[in-house]
Symmetry: C2
């Protein structure tokens, strides 16, 4: 497999340098490739809330921070406390919480660093497996609609489809308010030589008869096929139903329980600006949930590391 | 009825001053209230293409330009030629073409100015009639979803509903790429004391269970109930179908023929910026139709000056 695009390389997601954690600032990509320095755990939490990195980024940044704690000689109690704070920064996606819990179950101060490295390897392999299953759903010259930044799984699915000679095309919905589709997904696919274009979110319906499937990440999913993902995903899934197109979500580990979750609400002020540019009066923005809940009847399949459910 | 909001007052849409036409620049509203000067008809056409004004704006700016022609002592042939150029600036909405044709059928150089003034009066009355029918569809404390800037008819419908004590609430989808929902509709409703908030276009599905109806303008409509309106309208109409909510479009004069139209395509570069702010690489933007075609099965009713169809 070719090299991953800039945004998905470990060192560009988060790295330790001179006793501090540096996280890749996805808010300015693709125009700037800067890093934000985090000294204390509170810096990291504030930056995760402020969307400096998102999607799979917080997990990687969080694990790296625990390595920094180790390097700084913190005791296990402090490290566990930091892990809890980091996991609570964005409450809806519970991958961090689950990963940290399983990590501490099997680790002591001596093997924690090694076990964290094993987590990185584990996730790399799981992402690849999901990408591989995803690529099997893409047929020759098909067009995939996506939104937000579905990270490794989706990017690897497209990359493998390309390497298999299928010439996939991708249409990215820009994904307001943070424009991850326009800024992260589209430039990353272009970097890999995949044909890609950007549309505004309100053009999804307009292009439904030109696409073959809708593929997204899942910030959380459940064994009954309920998916929780970035706002705009519910629109896309309903449009798929209306146009009889499949909707697939990548999820590393669906929860085997009835759907229950903490929905993160964010300030309406975020909806009245783009970066530093005001789009209307800040007072007019409506507070909003960060994620859509997509009922199972709208989900064709969930793509997991263990197969297509 | 209370005074119309700033954006809908005749003098702020377009006015003649010192032998030139000044059109209200809606691209900078609500932060700036500037006017763009048009000397030659080519200036006006270029500014209409560049979205300085849109929706009902081009008709009013066009009629004013013909008055300027008269003031400048142009002959009827020149005025007709200018009208043709103005009507062709944005090809999908044919209201200008139809209005100019009917105007020239009944006018000579002597009565043209008077007949143009009659057109302004006629449209004011038609808008009011549509607004009045629209307000009858809004029940006590209902929430209306809208997009783009549905101009007089919708604003008057909300205003009348408010005056009838119904306390309407409006949610405006921001309407990328030009953000008319965020910048024009929401501030205009706020100006009238109507409760209003702004969401991103991809939040429409998320809020469908909180709204009672979706109301939009129609750049063009047909007697079989097909509606042509701003991109994003098709998404909204499909969501309405899925959530069993009514979708209403305001249309001053549906065409009594089978749906036929010229679809305006616009540069994908517009999708990669917001005002002067780049959102991603310009080369990634996909060329796009300016309007959605909404099939009749998704349209509950068209609100015309003659009643609700």
């Amino acid at each position: 497999m070719e090299k991953l695009p800039y945004l998905l390389r470990h060192e560009n997601i988060a790295h330790i340098e001179e006793n501090a954690l540096y996280i890749g600032d996805r808010r300015n990509f693709p125009f700037k490739k800067n890093f934000v320095k985090c000294n204390a755990v509170e810096d990291l939490v504030a930056n995760l809330k402020a969307m400096v990195t998102q999607g799979g980024g917080p997990l990687e940044a969080g694990l790296r921070f625990l390595q920094l704690d180790l390097q700084r000689g913190c005791n296990l109690e402090t490290i566990k406390k930091d892990a809890k704070l980091i996991a609570s920064a964005r409450p809806t996606n519970t991958t961090l919480e689950k990963t940290f819990n399983s990590l501490f179950e099997k680790s002591n101060l001596e093997n924690l660093n090694e076990n964290i490295e094993k987590e990185f390897d584990y996730y790399d392999k799981q992402y690849y497996k999901m990408g591989n299953y995803g690529s099997s759903l893409i047929l020759n010259k098909q067009t995939i609609l996506t939104n937000c930044f579905a990270e490794h799984s989706f990017i690897i699915a497209c990359l493998l489809a390309k390497e298999q000679g299928k010439k996939p095309k991708v249409i990215c919905a820009e994904t307001r308010p943070y424009l991850q589709g326009a800024r992260l997904t589209a430039p990353s696919l272009e970097e890999l030589g995949i044909e890609v274009s950007v549309i505004t979110d309100n053009l999804m319906a307009t292009y439904m008869d030109k696409i073959d499937m809708f593929m997204t990440a899942a910030d959380k999913s459940f064994s009954n096929k309920t998916v929780i993902n970035k706002i705009g995903t519910l629109s896309g899934a309903i449009l798929c139903k209306y146009y009889h197109k499949p909707y697939y979500a990548f999820s590393i580990a669906p929860d085997y329980c009835k759907p229950k979750y903490i929905m993160e609400f964010r300030s309406g002020k975020e909806l009245t600006k783009i970066g530093s540019l005001k789009t209307t009066f800040a007072r007019l923005g409506k507070d909003y949930p960060a994620f859509d809940v997509i009922p199972s009847k709208l989900v064709t399949s969930i793509i997991t590391p263990y197969g297509i459910v």
